[in-house]
C-alpha cells in the first residue's frame, strides 16, 4: 500500500429522496475527504434512482474508506469505482464567456474551432462557448482563453460511464 494520492471517479446509484445529496456531501465534509467534482441527476424515473458521479482524490486506503462509507449510507444502492474497474469514459461540459473585440475575438473563435467548441450565444463583443470533453481538455481551452478576454466559466463537473456492454 502506498501513500500516493490517487484521483478516482466514483459512480453512486442512490434513491432520489430528499436529503440524499446532503448525506453524501456531509459524509465527505464530516470525514475530511476531498471532492474535486460532483454531479447528480435522476437517471431512472420509474424507480426514482439518481446517479451521483464524484471525482475525489486520496491515498488508496482513503479511497477504500470513501467507497465503504458511501456503501453504508442506507439509500445508496451501488458504488462503483470506475477508475478501478476498467476502462471508462469521462466527460465534462463547460460554458465559457469571452469578451473582446478585434484580433482577440477572432483568435478565440479560431481556437474554439480547433477544440470543436460551439458558440451558443454571441453579441458583437462577446461569445459564450460550449465545450465538452475531458477535464484536461477543458482546462487547456480555458487557459488559452485567459488572455483573449475570458470573463466567466461554468462547469458541470465530470460524468462518467464504463466502456463496453456491461451494465452498472
Amino acid at each position: 500500500m502506498t501513500d500516493n494520492i490517487e484521483r478516482h471517479t466514483i459512480a453512486v446509484l442512490v434513491d432520489n429522496e430528499p436529503g440524499i445529496l446532503a448525506r453524501v456531501v456531509g459524509l465527505f465534509s464530516g470525514r475530511g475527504y476531498n471532492i474535486d467534482s460532483l454531479t447528480v441527476a435522476e437517471v431512472d424515473r420509474a424507480n426514482r434512482l439518481s446517479r451521483i458521479t464524484i471525482v475525489t482524490s486520496g491515498t488508496p486506503m482513503v479511497i477504500e474508506q470513501i467507497k465503504a462509507q458511501l456503501s453504508r449510507l442506507v439509500p445508496v444502492h451501488r458504488v462503483h469505482d470506475l477508475t478501478d474497474e476498467g476502462p471508462f469514459v469521462e466527460r465534462e461540459m463547460a460554458l465559457i464567456k469571452v469578451v473582446g473585440r478585434g484580433e482577440a475575438r477572432i483568435e478565440s473563435l479560431r481556437i474554439a474551432d480547433i477544440f470543436r467548441a460551439s458558440v451558443i450565444d454571441t453579441t458583437t463583443e462577446s461569445f459564450v462557448f460550449e465545450l465538452t470533453g475531458s477535464a484536461e481538455k477543458l482546462n487547456a481551452f480555458i487557459a488559452l482563453m485567459e488572455p483573449l478576454g475570458l470573463v466567466e466559466v461554468s462547469r458541470t463537473g465530470a460524468v462518467a460511464i464504463a466502456r463496453g456492454p456491461a451494465k452498472f
Binding site: 430528499p18 436529503g19 448525506r23 456531509g26 486506503m61 474508506q65 465503504a68 449510507l73 442506507v74 439509500p75
Partner: protein, 586 residues
C-alpha cells in the same frame, strides 16, 4: 392493510405495538400531542416520562443494550429534538439500535422558523444511521417499520423519524410490518467461505494467536458470544475484550486476559503487541485500543470479522477481512477449526508462559493496606464481591470510575454491562440504569458513577422515583473530575484548571429530596455494611462513597505511546515525556 384509514398518531402507536415495542421513553410537547393523545387511549404500550429528553435516549440505550431489542424514544419538535442529539450520537458511536420519533411543525410551516421548529433531519443526519421526514401520512406506516428494520439490521444504530403535526392528524392507511424491508439496504451476513478457510488455517497454525472481541460481538447476540467462547477454548488461545465487548467472553475463564486499550490490562496490551496473529471480532481498532498506530501489534497477521465494511482497513490494514455477522462467521470458523489437525502445542505453551509472566506483574495492584481512606479500586472490589452472585446489571458514567469499573467488575455474560464507550458521555449511566431497570424490573441495577458525571442527568432521579425503579447509584466521590485531573497531572504540570468541584451537593439529602435512600461512607471498614444496605434496600439508593481524591487510574498507555510503553503506576514515569503528537491527541 387496514380497511379503515386511521389518524397518523394512531398509525404510530399501532406500528410500535406491531414491532413488539412494550415501552417508550419520552417527553411531550406541542408537536407530539396527537401521539400522546393516542397513547392515552390504549394499554399495550407503556410510556416512561423522563425529565429531560437526553435522559430518554440514554434510557432507551440501556433498555436496548440489556435486552438486544430496539429502544424507542418519543420527543417533541425543536428543543425536544435537539436535547436528544447527544444520546443519538452516543448510540451511533456505540452501535445501539434506537428508533427516535421527533415531533415537527406542520408541513406547510417547515422552513418558516415556526415556533419550536428545528431542522431535525438536518441536525441529526450525521448522528444517526438514517433519518426520515414523513410528509405524507400514506408513507407513515411503511417508514416506521423500515426505521425498525434499519435500526436493528447490519451494524445497529439510531434512526430518527421526524413527524410533522399535520401528518399525525391526517387519516391514512395502516400496513403491518410484514414487508418492512428497505428496498435496497441488505447488509451481508454470511462470509465468503474461501476467506473463512484462509482464516481458519491461520488460526490453527498460529504460534501466538490473540482474540480481540468488541461490542459488535455483543450486538450480534448471545449466540455469537457463545460461539466466540467455544472457538477461543477450542483453539486454546488467549482472548481480550474492548470496553464495549466486556461480557462477550466469561471473565472467569483463564483464557481471558482482561480488557485491552488505554486503561486495559498489562497482559492484554503486551499480548496484543507481541502476538503473531490477531483475530478481531466485532471490534474496530479504535484509537483507545490501538495506541500509536505505527507501533500497533507490529508482528502480527490480522483477521478482522465485522459486519460493517467501513470498519475494515479503516485504521489498521488487515490480512484476512471476513465480512458478515459475527454469529455466522464464528459458526463457520468454528466448523473449520474443529476439524483442522492440531499442530503440536509446544509453541502455544511457550506463548502461555510469556503471558503468565506478564500476568505476574499484577498490573491492577494498588495500596490495599490503607485503613484511613477508601481506595476507589477497593470500593469496586468489594462491590463486585458482594453483588456478583445476584447477576447484576452495571452501567457507568464517564471518567476514572468507569475505567476502574471495567477493570475490577467481572462479567461472565453479555448484556450486563452498559457504558458510553465511543462518545464518552458523562451523564449516561443514571438514565441508562433507569432503562435497564425498566426492562428488568426484578434485577439489581447499579450505576457506578462519578460525582461530576451523575450531576449531568441527576434530574432522572425524579423519573426513578415516579416509577419506583430500585436503581442503585454507587458514586465514587473524589470531588474531582478525576480523569481530567489525571491528564492535567500527566500533560499540564499538575495545574488543576477547573477540575475540582468546589460546591458539591450533599448526595444524601439530594437522594432524599427525590424520595430515594441516601447513604455516605468514608471509611473502609464501613464499606461492606453500606453496600449490603444498598442492595437490601428495596427502592432506589444513592451510596456516596468518599474515595481517595488523589488516586489515578493505571495501567495507562499515554497518548501517542505504544502498547509496550504502558505506565503501570504512579512511580512509572513515561520513558520520554509525552510527544508533541501525543499532546494533541484526545
Amino acid at each position: 392493510m387496514s380497511a379503515e384509514p386511521i389518524c397518523g398518531a394512531d398509525i404510530v402507536i399501532r406500528a410500535l405495538v406491531d414491532q413488539g415495542v412494550d415501552v417508550v421513553f419520552g417527553y411531550p410537547g406541542g408537536a407530539v400531542l396527537p401521539i400522546y393523545d393516542s397513547l392515552f387511549k390504549q394499554n399495550a404500550l407503556r410510556h416512561i416520562l423522563v425529565r429531560q429528553e437526553g435522559g430518554a435516549v440514554h434510557a432507551a440505550e440501556g433498555y436496548a443494550r440489556s435486552t438486544g431489542r430496539v429502544g424507542v424514544v418519543l420527543v417533541t419538535s425543536g428543543p425536544g429534538a435537539t436535547n436528544a442529539v447527544t444520546g443519538l450520537t452516543d448510540a451511533l458511536m456505540d452501535s445501539v439500535p434506537i428508533v427516535c420519533l421527533t415531533g415537527q411543525v406542520p408541513t406547510h410551516l417547515i422552513g418558516n422558523d415556526a415556533f419550536q421548529e428545528a431542522d431535525t433531519t438536518g441536525i441529526t443526519r450525521p448522528c444517526t444511521k438514517h433519518n426520515y421526514l414523513v410528509k405524507d401520512v400514506a408513507d407513515l406506516a411503511r417508514v416506521l417499520h423500515e426505521a425498525f428494520y434499519v435500526a436493528k439490521s447490519g451494524r445497529p444504530g439510531p434512526v430518527v423519524v421526524d413527524l410533522p403535526k399535520d401528518v399525525l392528524f391526517a387519516a391514512g392507511p395502516y400496513s403491518g410490518p410484514e414487508q418492512a424491508q428497505h428496498k435496497s439496504y441488505r447488509p451481508q451476513l454470511h462470509p465468503d467461505p474461501a476467506r473463512v478457510a484462509e482464516a481458519a488455517a491461520l488460526i490453527v497454525a498460529a504460534r501466538k494467536p490473540l482474540f480481540y472481541g468488541g461490542g459488535g460481538l455483543v450486538n450480534s447476540g448471545p449466540e455469537a458470544c457463545a460461539r466466540f467462547t467455544e472457538l477461543v477454548r477450542t483453539v486454546d488461545a488467549p482472548c481480550t475484550l474492548t470496553l464495549m465487548g466486556l461480557g462477550a467472553f466469561p471473565a472467569s475463564d483463564p483464557h481471558f486476559l482482561g480488557m485491552v486499550g488505554m486503561h486495559g490490562l498489562y497482559e492484554s496490551n503486551m499480548a496484543m503487541h507481541g502476538c503473531d496473529l490477531l483475530i478481531a471480532v466485532g471490534s474496530r481498532f479504535d484509537d483507545r485500543v490501538t495506541g500509536r498506530l505505527n507501533a500497533f501489534s507490529p508482528g502480527s497477521k490480522k483477521i478482522h470479522i465485522d459486519i460493517d465494511p467501513s470498519s475494515i482497513n479503516k485504521n489498521v490494514r488487515v490480512d484476512v477481512p471476513l465480512l458478515g455477522d459475527c454469529a455466522a462467521v464464528l459458526g463457520a470458523l468454528l466448523g473449520e477449526c474443529k476439524t483442522a489437525p492440531r499442530p503440536e502445542g509446544a509453541a502455544r505453551q511457550a506463548w502461555w508462559k510469556e503471558i503468565d509472566a506478564w500476568r505476574a506483574r499484577d498490573c491492577l495492584r494498588y495500596d490495599r493496606a490503607r485503613r484511613d481512606l477508601i481506595k476507589p479500586q477497593y470500593a469496586l472490589e468489594r462491590l463486585y464481591a458482594l453483588t456478583r452472585d445476584r447477576d447484576p446489571f452495571i452501567t457507568t458514567e464517564v471518567g476514572q470510575h468507569q475505567m476502574w469499573a471495567a477493570q475490577f467488575y467481572k462479567f461472565d455474560k453479555p448484556y450486563h454491562w452498559m457504558t458510553s464507550g465511543g462518545l464518552g458521555t458523562m451523564g449516561y449511566g443514571l438514565p441508562a440504569a433507569m432503562g435497564v431497570q425498566v426492562a428488568h424490573p426484578g434485577a439489581l441495577v447499579i450505576d457506578i458513577a462519578g460525582e461530576a458525571s451523575i450531576l449531568m442527568n441527576i434530574q432522572e432521579m425524579s423519573t426513578i422515583a415516579q416509577y419506583r425503579l430500585p436503581v442503585k447509584a454507587f458514586i465514587l466521590n473524589n470531588q474531582y473530575m478525576g480523569m481530567v485531573r489525571q491528564w492535567q497531572e500527566l500533560l499540564h504540570g499538575g495545574r488543576y484548571s477547573e477540575s475540582y468541584t468546589a460546591a458539591l451537593p450533599d448526595f444524601v439529602k439530594l437522594a432524599e429530596a427525590f424520595g430515594a435512600k441516601g447513604m455516605r461512607v468514608e471509611r473502609p471498614d464501613e464499606l461492606d455494611d453500606a453496600i449490603r444496605a444498598m442492595i437490601e434496600t428495596p427502592g432506589a439508593v444513592v451510596l456516596d462513597v468518599a474515595v481517595d481524591q488523589t488516586e489515578n487510574c493505571f495501567p495507562m498507555i499515554p497518548s501517542g505511546a505504544a502498547h509496550n510503553e504502558m505506565l503501570l503506576g504512579p512511580a512509572d514515569k513515561a520513558e520520554q515525556p509525552v510527544s508533541e503528537e501525543g499532546m494533541v491527541l484526545v
